[in-house]
Chain length 189, copies 2
């Protein structure tokens, strides 16, 4: 059984290694957003995976089973919501690459979306995890767009994240407190 957010029941027999607790960036963010909702801090959600539904069966009156569907390319970013009256919007990606974040990870219409949100005073950013270093950076839409416009390369160097990005510390709850960084950006408390 595959749950939508990739949660799997851990086998009791498998050894626990603290390096790989099975916590992907996506589940870290989902857990953090849940925590923010619990403490009534922010209402930020992951959008459902976009799927094109082709065939649906109705074995009984109130139960529909989708029997043919396809993943479709998202036209926006994965996460958006509301924090302190502000519109928040971001995309989250992890990479195994040690030296750079490949831009193939972000679709062209997602880049356009980031630009639109930035131009219309939304708070927009990327959260990028470099798995090798176990480091998670928040990169502002503004800095991301400046890079894209100036550079013709197909990836953003790791060093660019070190210079321009904000390192998000791991925590217990929330696991990644990215709103702490948003606070410094919006000049909040």
């Amino acid at each position: 059984m595959n749950y939508p957010n990739g949660i799997k029941k851990q086998e009791n027999t498998s050894p626990i290694t603290y390096r790989n607790r099975g916590m992907s960036l996506e589940s870290d963010i989902n857990e953090s957003n849940e925590y923010y909702r619990e403490i009534d801090k922010a209402y930020i959600y992951k959008k459902p995976t976009p799927v094109k539904i082709v065939k649906v069966n109705y074995p009984s009156r109130d139960k529909a089973v989708i029997t043919e569907a396809y993943y479709t390319i998202p036209s926006t970013t994965d996460y958006n919501g509301l924090y302190k009256g502000k519109y928040i919007d971001f995309e989250a990606k992890e990479t195994k690459n040690k030296t750079a974040f490949p831009l193939a990870n972000i679709h062209s219409h997602q880049i356009k979306h980031i630009k639109n949100i930035y131009n219309h005073q939304g708070i927009v950013f990327l959260i990028v995890r470099f798995i090798h270093y176990n480091e998670t950076y928040l990169l502002l839409g503004k800095d991301f767009l400046e890079f894209i416009e100036k550079e013709s390369r197909k990836s953003i160097p790791y060093s660019f994240f070190q210079q321009k990005g904000y390192l998000i510390k791991d925590g217990y709850r929330p696991r990644i407190d990215y709103l702490k960084i948003v606070d410094t950006i919006i000049g909040g408390i």
Copy 2:
């Protein structure tokens, strides 16, 4: 072939009645949001239909076919986005009922979501179409929540929409210019 937003190719043989041009509220809103994006006015999207994916086949390396999935109850509203730097959030429903809008149309966690967004200074509302009258109303989250808290009835009377709601006129492009009403609410131009 069932398209996600319910668009069906019109048979040439069927008589065209202007009363039922086949334009559901959802397609009217989708078209209006598209228009708002085209003229760079607002970036408001319908969230993908939430689906729990159970089985996926990979007939070839780059093609995934979902062969078993189920519709799941949405935890938030269907539409959200950004307009003039503000967070916009709404749910859209149509009813054939002539006298009232049945509250069974809005899930309890959607009501909670509307409350959260309202409390955190988001612009949140319902768009409700009474099909019988061909009237579409914008009802502010504030007024909706006040009704829910005061009244124990299972539906909102049509007269409540006439009193508290904002009638959205039909148009050509956008088909329903609900942001015009949002303008009066936020006091913008």
